[in-house]
Symmetry: C2
Subunit: 339 residues, 2 copies
DNA sequence: TTGTAGGCGTTATCAG
DNA sequence: CTGATAACGCCTACAA
């Protein structure tokens, strides 16, 4: 428990300002809220007095009284690169609408629920949770706190209260497979991100997509890092039948595959085509002209803020779901299937 | 003016908790402040009731009443893995002392100053900035807001007001070089993280350390990622004289070096020794028993919180500097120099 | 246009 | 251990 506050000189309050300006406290409040009810002359006098005193509005008192703030809470997982990109986009989207963001991290030693709690205590007007494995356990009575889940894998039933925003990963994977089929590929492989919830859905979509074309599926365990991609590529090289196209778990993974194949003398895309999945905007990766399924983080972010603000302004009703389209960006790492 | 929410949907307050636990409000306050005056049994009952209700203390009311904030601000760079580890540690250190953390991210599209501004607006009682390239420009109104810089590269002159906490990187690098020299290595190489302020200091220390032993320095540009390490290793392999020991820019970089050397049939540590520099606790990397210079994030975090709280309690005076020792952890990737 | 009277949820004090 | 009571600084009726 922190000790008593230091014997600091008292901060000026509205009362002090009012006294100095020779008006009432209410008037000072009105002036600072920029609310109607104060004459031009009075307004000037109040602001002048406030400046003289170095008066600053007390946010604690303000939000205690009003019961609301202009801050959106964000719970993110500190380890996830994609969250970080999303964060950037959400900052921008919130800023555009006049909101501030308050961040709280879920770490290996700090649960999502704990992270959420901090934000509730700070009186944010809504919370967005990145990459929720499952809906966090909201405090029983804070059940009207607006909550948006990003990248949440459906299931939860139709009657959940939280809103969900996610990318159309399935559509993206299907587009990637279609692209490869169009190029004549029949022996494809897909790298699965073990340990990541996102991985499963992508692989499922891959299996369905190749099945639709009457082609065999081949799935290898991998991960979301460059090293994981490199390792998987080495395993592919060691096996007898090298596929003509590889769909990586995400972009870093694809970069790893690329690096390994290239340094083993395998031409990309001459001999093998490589497709990524937009999981990060890392500069080193963007430098490679990768064919990839791009997620639109800016749209994701805008939806998030919209849903949150919406609910904070009184919208009730069951959880809504926003599926943001992905799009296949064809780069230099895919080409016609080798002979 | 929105109508008063029904009692059922209002956030629970101390009163609600008190009612449910069958005690007085004062007692609830005592329990949550961890203040003396409540029996073990009562304490348990109160906490239980609070949990049932999903009660969370209202920070606004709290700080209004006590006249002090219990939140420390953190500005971090969302792209930096090490920041993320540090964040975890700082959460813990702050928690131990009864403080909450409020995060604000600096991203490619959002400056450090902007991040700081948000925190100042939220009335945190102090701010720690991770990896400050330069001291952030504090707004005029926050001239005496406690400020701690982590990993800041000195220079700023002796009269700066901010406190600084950093790892003894130089000592760590020297220890690593000493270790290699003890093992008989004379042809060493050091990978430099271009684009990262930390990189420069480490390379400088490396040059000084090998010079002290009368050995030549060899520096290659690289980076803080596995891929950067892998690329650098490939360049080393392509050159005529392979060094017998490589000091990587950080641990991920070392992992990349390791992967490339191993897959090229170069035995580690039989033919080449590899040393990392603790930049992250990524599990995939910890799995490798890497010789590395370990930074003590928990001590770093404790110092950060200590300095901040200190100043917030009235400590004045010029900026202090805390240098936290690093230590060489010898793993399985270093061994005697080859023939 | 101005003033007055609550009350937001918490902590602190003081009597039982 | 309880219960009552008074702030903390601000906002919002409502009355003047």
């Amino acid at each position: 428990m922190p000790p008593d506050p230091p014997a600091a000189e008292r901060r000026p309050t509205m009362k002090d300002v009012a006294a100095r300006a020779g008006v009432s406290r209410a008037l000072v409040s009105i002036v600072f809220r920029d609310a109607p009810g104060a004459g031009e002359e009075t307004r000037r006098r109040v602001l002048r007095a406030a400046a003289d005193l170095g008066y600053v509005r007390d946010q604690s008192a303000r939000s205690l009284r009003t019961g609301r703030s202009y801050q959106l809470g964000v719970v993110f997982e500190s380890r996830d690169d994609f969250h970080v990109d999303l964060l950037d986009a959400v900052y921008r989207a919130a800023d555009d609408r006049g909101y501030e963001l308050l961040l709280s991290a879920a770490t290996p030693r700090r649960t999502q629920d704990r992270a959420l709690e901090t934000l509730v205590g700070a009186r944010v007007l809504g919370v967005v949770v990145f990459g929720a494995r499952q809906a966090p356990t909201l405090p029983e009575t804070a059940r009207d706190l607006p909550l948006v889940l990003v990248g949440h894998q459906e299931d939860g039933g139709a009657d959940r209260r939280e809103d969900v925003v996610r990318s159309d990963e399935e559509g993206g994977v299907r587009a990637a497979v279609q692209h490869l089929v169009d190029l004549g590929h029949t022996r494809t492989a897909c790298l699965e991100a073990v340990d990541h919830r996102g991985g499963l859905a992508r692989v499922r979509a891959y299996r369905a997509a190749v099945a639709d074309h009457g082609l065999p599926a081949r799935v290898l365990p991998s991960g979301f890092t460059q090293l994981a991609g490199a390792t998987a590529a080495q395993r592919l090289l060691a096996e007898p039948d090298l596929p003509t196209a590889v769909i990586a778990a995400n972009d870093p993974c694809a970069a790893g595959v690329l690096a390994t194949l290239t340094s083993a003398g395998v031409d990309v895309p001459g001999r093998v085509s490589v497709v990524g999945f937009d999981g990060t905007r890392d500069d080193a990766i963007r430098a490679v002209d990768l064919t990839t399924v791009r997620q639109d983080v800016d749209v994701l972010a805008a939806e998030v803020v919209q849903l949150l603000v919406d609910r904070s302004e009184g919208h009730r009703g069951p959880g809504r779901e926003r599926v943001v389209p992905t799009r296949l960006v064809v780069g230099a790492t895919t080409g016609p299937a080798a002979g």
